[in-house]
């Protein structure tokens, strides 16, 4: 039988029509089953059935009580429960308990694996008489408070009752008649050994125990009951099913309990009341502290930049950073209600996540132009912020690309947000490629191998079929994969083209070179050959950000973190040209501050990108690369002369500049009217060049503008920087989330893709998540 024949034949066969009768009958029976199912469980939706922590504890306590068999009759159970309430008696707890009582009477006990517990609990209901008057008064008060709260909430509340379920309450007198005789006998037998108080609490609650303190009673009865446990539990077993039956009996008349048993002001709930389940507290689940429980995410630890005195250190040097991974990771954490760990926050990456519309030069000249603005700092009065923005030009003619996809297919990539997301992401990327670009795929798990020899991007079917057949398993020979990928990229090297390895991984390398320094040395050597590296991070819980950063920073690359298909689209489609086409490499910034006008400065972010002063002119020192259309923003907070400084002047070392002003500074003063804050220098290399070009620009008082008059982009960047520093727990920025929300909302601009709106929502999330301990 050949392949198609069976299908053809079968698909031509029509099933007979089912008879209408059968259909109706099925529907009828299904509806009956549906009604039964729905009546069995509470009206509440499945979420509210999840037990809260407190309910769990109570259930646990009750189960333990049952196992220890010291509960002779329901009375003890009631006493124990009441004692618990008395001890922990807050209105909140009580409402939880009453909810549970109601649930117990209604929910099928078996479904909660509470065999026997429900009968215990319905037993609980009857013996109000034994309840201490003190306790009753307290319950009453709580009842009133709870009712008031419920009234405020505008929902109909179940009156809180010691009785729990009214049906159980109604059944109590009957039941007590039935079993009293047996219990009396039992009591006689154990009379000598039992403590009077404990015993008094045991029989059905009709006979009041004078002055039996609630806290003591269960303890006593436990001791007293222990020797008799076996016999008593036998009685218990006999009683349990019966009492359950009675309690469940729907037709049990709602006879009002004897006057003495009713709390003043308490009205027995009617059936109608029961139908309305009391307002359910939102489940107070313990929030999963992901980094504590499963988190092996690794981030490089670093301290926030501190304030530098211009006298002591007038020059600040750093490499640009166009990565965005920090923002995506932070977003992911906040979206799950947890504050990200502090080391995950690289302020510059969060700021640079957004696309800013800075001025762009004509293609052919310099690859970018600096945009500068000076405005009053919202973080500390008297201070000013210097905003330096850079945007690379968009490439017009895309060079031919030779891309090697280096895909991690190790076991750690198994989850949905890793390999499957990766495959979909790369399929998206393929759409942005030109037909004659070449693509090859190297995969690595326990060992590495070439999954796809260099193939034209136009042959999508072939590439797709390789991507579709990827399976995650095994260990991670990451270094070996990188080696092979570089080899493949070298073999197909396109001169004057874009030779790039795109590595997708969670960074969990565990076979071969796993030492980051060694790996760093390897990629450092390779980058000289003109092969760029882009690193895409996936997954969380075992995400090695440090490894990714090491690779990207040392391998002429950029890093992005893909937490969702949307992010994949942003990085690989909308911003594909930024990722794929480097327009300038080793971009370094150096800012020299003018001691005449500036006392102190602080660079916001770029902690992991700091360079030495002498590195700026040294072309051998590697720095960040900038892609087509990439934007980079740096913000300095400065304390101008005249404003209160954080760093005091030195007593014993007279500042050189003040004692004898530098001739250059004088020059500046005469030439520019002394209004230069700082001097900005940028060095960069063309992608194929080894020597750098210098751009310079003074930052003067002419750049100063009121905050409100600045472009949306600059104001928004400011909001992001504020937020990032708050998340990081900065010492220099007050945690005022509302101000951030306001600024960001006003500066949202066109926001075509909704990223800025999303940011505002993240700030809101952080506002509520902020109460939690930052996780480590």
């Amino acid at each position: 039988m050949d392949d198609r024949k069976l299908e053809d034949m079968l698909s031509h066969l029509k099933a007979p029509e089912p008879s209408k009768d059968a259909q109706n009958q099925a529907l009828e029976r299904a509806m009956a089953a549906f009604d039964e199912k729905m009546s069995k469980t509470t009206q509440a939706n499945p979420e509210t059935k999840r037990l809260t922590g407190i309910e769990n504890i109570l259930i646990h306590v009750r189960r333990k009580l049952m196992q220890k068999r010291f509960v002779i009759s329901g009375t003890t159970g009631a006493v124990a429960t009441c004692a618990l309430i008395a001890v922990l008696g807050t209105p909140f707890f009580y409402s939880q308990v009453s909810q549970l009582v109601v649930d117990d009477a209604r929910i099928d006990a078996a479904s909660l694996k509470l065999e026997g517990a429900s009968s215990l609990f319905t037993d609980d209901a009857s013996p109000q008489a034994s309840v201490d008057k003190d306790l009753r008064q307290r319950l009453e008060e709580q009842n009133a408070i709870a009712a008031e709260r419920a009234a405020q909430a505008g929902a109909s509340a179940m009156p809180l009752a010691i009785e729990g379920s009214p049906s159980a309450d109604a059944a109590a007198p009957k039941k007590s008649d039935d079993i009293r005789g047996r219990l009396e006998a039992q009591k006689m037998q154990s009379a000598e050994r039992a403590e009077p108080q404990g015993l008094a609490a045991m029989p059905m609650g009709a006979d009041n125990t004078a002055g039996a303190t609630m806290q003591v009673a269960p303890m006593m009865s436990m001791d007293a009951a222990a020797p008799k446990a076996k016999e008593e539990s036998k009685v218990m077993r006999e009683i349990a099913p019966m009492s359950e039956r009675v309690a469940r009996k729907p037709s049990a008349p709602l006879t009002p309990a004897p006057a003495s048993n009713v709390m003043p002001g308490f009205v027995a709930p009617t059936e109608a009341d029961m139908a309305v389940v009391s307002p359910v507290q939102p489940p107070v689940d313990v929030i999963q502290h992901q980094y504590q429980d499963v988190g092996r995410d690794q981030f490089q630890a670093f301290e926030e930049n501190s304030v530098k005195a211009v006298q002591a250190e007038p020059v600040s040097t750093f490499s640009i950073d166009v990565d965005t991974s920090s923002y995506s990771f932070v977003r992911r954490a906040l979206n799950s209600g947890v504050l990200p760990q502090k080391n995950a926050i690289r302020i510059e990456e969060m700021v640079n996540y957004f696309d800013y519309n800075y001025a762009v030069p004509e293609a052919g000249g310099d690859p970018f132009l600096p945009t500068v603005a000076v405005y009053d700092s919202p973080w500390r009065s008297g201070n000013k912020l210097i905003h330096i923005g850079v945007k690379g030009y968009e490439v017009q003619t895309k060079p031919k690309s030779n891309l090697v996809f280096l895909l991690d297919t190790s076991g750690s990539m198994h989850s949905q947000d890793k390999l499957p997301l990766l495959v979909n992401s790369f399929k998206m990327l393929l759409d942005t490629l030109s037909a004659d670009d070449t693509v090859s795929i190297v995969t690595y798990a326990g060992s590495s191998g070439v999954a796809l020899a260099p193939t034209k991007a136009s042959d999508k079917q072939k590439i797709f079929s390789v991507l579709d057949n990827l399976q995650a398993s095994g260990s991670t020979a990451g270094a070996e994969g990188i080696r092979q990928a570089y080899q493949l990229a070298e073999q197909n090297f396109v001169k004057d083209g874009n030779n790039r390895i795109i590595l997708a991984t969670d960074g969990d390398f565990n076979v071969g070179i796993t030492n980051q320094d060694e790996l760093k040395g390897f990629v450092e050597r390779k980058r000289k050959e003109g092969i760029f590296l882009s690193v895409l991070g996936f997954g969380q819980g075992n995400y090695n950000d440090h490894m990714m950063q090491t690779l990207a920073q040392n391998g002429n690359g950029t890093a992005a973190y893909i937490d969702s298909l949307n992010e994949a689209r942003k990085v690989l489609v909308d911003e594909a040209s930024s990722m794929l086409f480097t327009i300038a490499k080793d971009v370094k910034l150096q800012v020299e501050f003018n001691p005449q006008t500036v006392q102190e400065y602080r660079l916001v972010g770029y902690e992991t990108r700091a360079l030495n002063r002498e590195d700026f002119n040294n072309d051998k020192v590697d720095a960040g690369d900038i892609g087509a259309g990439h934007t980079v923003t740096a913000i300095y907070e400065i304390t101008p002369v005249g404003a209160p400084p954080l760093v005091d002047d030195l007593r014993y070392q007279k500042p050189a500049a003040k004692a004898e002003p530098k001739p250059e500074a004088d020059l500046v003063k005469t030439a520019e009217g002394g209004d230069e804050y700082a001097f900005l220098k940028i060095r960069y290399k063309k992608p194929d060049s080894d020597t750098s070009t210098l751009m310079t620009r003074p930052i003067t008082k002419a750049d100063e503008k009121p905050f409100a008059s600045l472009s949306d982009d600059i104001r928004f960047a400011n909001a992001v920087a504020s937020f990032a520093q708050m998340l990081k727990g900065s010492k220099f920025v007050p945690a005022d989330y509302d101000a951030v929300i306001e600024t960001a909302n006003q500066a949202r601009g066109k926001d075509e893709f909704g990223y800025r709106t999303e940011f505002v929502n993240l700030v809101r999330l952080a506002k509520t998540a902020a109460g939690l301990q930052p996780l480590r």
Binding site: H12, L27, A30, M31, A33
Partner: protein, 184 residues
């Protein structure tokens, strides 16, 4: 306005009878069809479909919206069918009338072709349970191996293997029939 399955399920989970009734009415045909393809006779198929509808009611709360509703429904029907025959076989009768009403379901015009179709159906019906359910889903309902894997809760590769195994078995059964005819 036509509500989609997930909306109906959501409403039904919240206790909406009307939504649940609509679900059952909409999908009864599918349940019956799968049941019939699985067991090959109409009476049993109706019983299985009914049982599936009841199971649907009982388990509606556990649908997690992580797959298509029909995928989940297929699983319910197939499990119901298995349970049905387990119970039935316990009561003795092992024989089940297989595709006896095939005459009026075969689209083939000439009687000889109809007979051949019937033979194939019998071969399908005689397959072991796991192979049969796979054939029903993949060859008859045109599911991809991946989808079938989701329904039957096994890897895609297993489905592929089962299909090739089933083909071999059906082919062997047909060969035997052919030989039998030639000699007879």
């Amino acid at each position: 306005m036509q509500q989609d399955d997930h909306t109906l399920v959501r409403n039904a989970q919240a206790g909406d009878r009307q939504a649940f009734a609509m679900l059952v009415e909409r999908h009864y045909g599918l349940m019956f069809k799968v049941a019939w393809q699985w067991c090959g006779n109409r009476d049993d198929a109706q019983d299985i479909a009914q049982e599936s509808a009841v199971k649907l009611a009982q388990n509606i709360r556990s649908f997690g919206f992580d797959a298509a509703f029909t995928t989940w429904l297929y699983r319910i029907v197939i499990n119901a069918a298995k349970d049905f025959y387990k119970a039935k076989n316990r009561h003795g009768s092992r024989e089940m009338p297989l595709f006896d009403d095939v005459e009026y379901i075969s689209a083939a015009p000439d009687p000889e072709k109809q007979l051949a179709d019937k033979d194939v159906l019998r071969a399908v019906a005689e397959l072991p349970e796991t192979l049969r359910e796979t054939v029903v889903l993949v060859c008859w309902h045109g599911m991809s191996h991946r989808e079938a894997g989701e329904v039957l809760d096994c890897p895609e590769g297993t489905i592929s293997w089962r299909i090739s195994e089933a083909r071999k078995k059906i082919a062997a059964a047909m060969d035997l029939k052919q030989k039998g005819k030639r000699h007879g």
